[in-house]
């Protein structure tokens, strides 16, 4: 088997103490067209920067055709790997021709002019990306799509064997996006160029890629053909929202779409939910339940707590206790009455102490009344009561029929199923 064009072995990397890539491994063969997808902040751009030796990995190695990228001389690296960043700007009035020349003059001395061969390469690169007619125009006066093609021409003038693009086409119009993609595919087919593209457009990615790599939280979740990767279940979990995948029976193209119906109009879902939260753990629950048309109540919360503020802002009915004090009997009775009207009771991943432990009694009451009770997993890590009372109570509740939830998306799906 030949040496992979790009080989990433258990690389961890990040900024300062914040690790973005978590022992990530992936290999890309020569001549492959790979699209990296994943939610914002999952580490796609960091991966590109680590591969290009702009970021030093805290562990692991990146190899380009078998050579450690950190041991390659910068000029040697640039002849193997070309990178097109998201957006490139110049503060000066360089012409398109001068910008593209950078691809050849990078290491030349001022008094040595470019050879005939260099000029030929520059010209071919401009023709290939269709910017030759623009060569005397000022770079910064061009449209976004034209600028992106100019930068592509500059990178091609390096004559790299691998080319990586960092969401370079995300902000382009659909026609310009296809134009750049067509160029990339031609490079891939005609010259065996290895292409790694970071993209947000799942449907477009499935059309063009040999292989999709889905990343999340600094790891590769799944890598394979678009049929293998673009599955509603996997995507919904990674993007933490409800997604649908449809395949066009004529073209075989895959379409990934979010689900809009159900938002704010599912009258059948007007089931009342009572949420036990605090310290900001309830905000996303309130928002999501409200969005899907549930009638939400919450409490007991301390006033001035961020969940109390959120409940007020979202117009959610709530029971409050005085700021920074333990929940008293009065507030508890009120909340008990309120929760009694709900059909579902959800406990967020709120930490429990002696002051709010009493809220768990609401869950007990709901369970005794035969209602659905959902408790966020991992109670042991947020139990600050003496003698781990919350853990004990939650375990009892679970034994009596309460259920745990971990991801909000899964919780919403489960509730919908009922």
């Amino acid at each position: 088997m030949s040496v992979p064009a790009l080989s990433i072995d258990s690389v961890s990397a990040g900024y300062g103490d914040h690790l973005v890539l978590d022992s990530l491994s992936v290999q890309i063969a020569k001549g492959e067209f790979v699209v990296l997808i994943g939610p914002n902040g999952c580490g796609k751009s960091t991966l590109l920067k680590t591969v290009a030796a702009l970021i030093r990995p805290s562990s692991g190695t990146v190899r380009l055709f078998g050579e450690d990228v950190r041991k390659l001389r910068p000029s040697a690296r640039s002849r193997i790997l070309g990178v097109v960043p998201q957006k490139v700007e110049s503060p000066m009035a360089f012409t398109v021709h001068q910008i593209v020349m950078n691809g050849r003059t990078g290491s030349s001395l001022p008094w040595i002019s470019l050879s005939e061969e260099d000029h030929g390469i520059i010209e071919r690169s401009m023709i290939y990306t269709d910017v030759f007619d623009l060569r005397d125009r000022y770079f910064m006066e061009l449209s976004g799509g034209e600028q992106q093609r100019v930068i592509l021409a500059m990178v091609l003038a390096q004559e790299p064997q691998i080319i990586m693009l960092d969401e370079s086409i995300a902000h382009l119009d659909i026609n310009h996006r296809y134009e750049v993609l067509r160029i990339l595919r031609r490079l891939n087919h005609e010259h065996g160029m290895t292409v790694v593209l970071v993209s947000h457009d799942l449907s477009l990615s499935s059309e063009i890629a040999d292989r999709l790599i889905l990343m999340n939280a600094g790891k590769v979740i799944v890598s394979g053909s678009s049929e293998e990767v673009l599955q509603a279940e996997i995507l919904s979990r990674v993007y933490d929202c409800e997604l649908q995948v449809q395949q066009d029976p004529l073209t075989g193209a895959v379409h990934v779409t979010g689900v809009l119906d159900g938002v704010n109009k599912g009258s059948e879902r007007m089931r009342p939910v009572h949420v036990i939260a605090g310290g900001g753990t309830g905000i996303e629950l309130y928002r999501r339940f409200g969005l899907y048309g549930y009638r939400v109540t919450t409490g007991v919360l301390n006033r001035m707590d961020s969940d109390a503020e959120a409940a007020n802002a979202l117009g959610i009915e709530a029971v409050f206790e005085k700021p920074f004090s333990a929940i008293g009997d009065g507030a508890y009775k009120e909340a008990s009455e309120m929760a009694g009207k709900a059909e579902i009771l959800v406990v967020s991943d709120v930490p429990f102490g002696s002051g709010n432990l009493i809220n768990l009694r609401l869950a007990k009451e709901a369970l005794d009344a035969g209602k659905e009770v959902w408790i966020a997993g991992g109670i042991a890590e947020r139990d600050y009561t003496d003698g781990k009372q919350a853990v004990g109570q939650v375990n009892t509740l679970l034994a009596e029929g309460a259920r745990t939830w971990t991801s909000l998306h899964d919780l919403m799906m489960e509730l919908k199923r009922v």
Partner: protein
């Protein structure tokens, strides 16, 4: 034949640099330099070289011309380099605090009398102080950024350090004796009085070295204007080039300050005008700015010693009068275009 965007044939370029303009420029420079020899506080016209007085006057004017070329080219090239590295049209030795630091070092050397006893103490003090200032500015800007500071934090800390330096200079001046006061003020306003021979030789060597280093880095500066990240992808050791460029530019600016005092705006105006005339390719821009900056300062000096003759004005006054409005013009254009000529 090349054609422009209206499909009209245009002047053939050397890789985008207008040849005809460069030829005209090469003809104009010697003429302008010769013209400057005709002007002086002692009257217009070429001095009579057959009389001893005329000889002395010509000698003096030639010395001033050499000083002007040296200082003007050093300030201009360092301005070019700072603008390229910081990707900011308003960058120049003053913005980064480099001139302020050099000024503080030189003021200390003058006021504590070192200049009178130790030869070359002035340029050495200026350079050491300028480099220390640069490291201080760079260090403050790098804090919490993992070693590579953003352009904004560099400029911000440069402006702050610069104003601290000028406050310290003001403090030193206000407590100085009347004698020291005069020489510091005169020096601060900027002038091209010839300095001792050994200082002139050292300054020429230092400025020459800085020029060669920056010129060699010309094509790297082109790539750096697209950003540090893009330069890295183009196969350059971007951090090393930035550091080397900043050091060379600092050396040139500090040496210029040590022999010519605080001559403002040359490092700002000349790079912009040269770029507008010949384009932004640094392989050409650096030598062309050196020549045009030197010539510009020589002409400003000729004006300074003529307009109020026989009283001589500090040349810094002329460059500042020309530079202030120009600075505003750039700001306006920058706001309209977001990029510069």
């Amino acid at each position: 034949m090349k054609r422009n965007r209206e499909n009209i044939p245009v002047t053939p370029d050397i890789e985008g640099v207008p040849r005809v303009r460069i030829a005209l420029f090469c003809l104009a420079v010697p003429l302008l330099l010769f013209l400057s020899l005709l002007l002086g506080a002692s009257g217009q016209g070429f001095p009579d070289v057959h009389s001893p007085v005329g000889k002395a006057i010509l000698n003096l004017r030639i010395n001033r011309l050499v000083m002007g070329l040296l200082v003007g080219s050093a300030l201009s090239v360092s301005g070019v380099v700072f603008q390229a590295i910081l990707r900011n049209p308003l960058a120049e030795p003053y913005v980064l605090g480099v001139s302020g630091g050099a000024g503080l070092g030189a003021t200390l050397a003058i006021l504590f009398g070192a200049v009178a006893f130790i030869p070359l103490s002035l340029p050495v003090a200026a350079f050491v102080a300028a480099v220390l200032t640069l490291f201080l500015v760079y260090g403050i800007a790098s804090r919490g950024s993992g070693g590579s500071p953003s352009v904004y934090s560099l400029i911000l800390s440069g402006v702050i350090i610069s104003s601290i330096c000028s406050s310290l200079i003001m403090f030193l001046v206000s407590t100085a004796s009347a004698d020291g006061l005069h020489s510091v003020i005169w020096w601060m306003l900027g002038n091209l009085q010839p300095v001792p021979l050994e200082q002139r030789i050292l300054s020429t060597v230092l400025i020459g070295a800085g020029f060669i280093v920056t010129w060699l880095l010309g094509s790297r500066f082109n790539a750096l204007t697209l950003g540090r990240e893009m330069a890295h992808y183009q196969g350059m050791n971007a951090d090393l080039i930035i550091l080397g460029g900043l050091l060379a530019a600092t050396l040139m600016a500090a040496t210029a300050v040590s022999i010519g005092g605080m001559i403002g705006f040359v490092g700002l105006i000349v790079p912009h005008v040269t770029r507008a005339m010949f384009g932004p390719d640094h392989r050409w821009l650096i030598p062309l700015s050196a020549v045009s900056g030197g010539t510009f300062l020589v002409l400003c000096d000729a004006v300074a010693r003529t307009v109020l003759a026989p009283v001589e004005m500090p040349v810094g006054v002329i460059t500042a009068l020309a530079g202030g409005p120009f600075f505003l013009m750039i700001l306006q254009r920058k706001m309209k275009n977001a990029w510069i000529a």
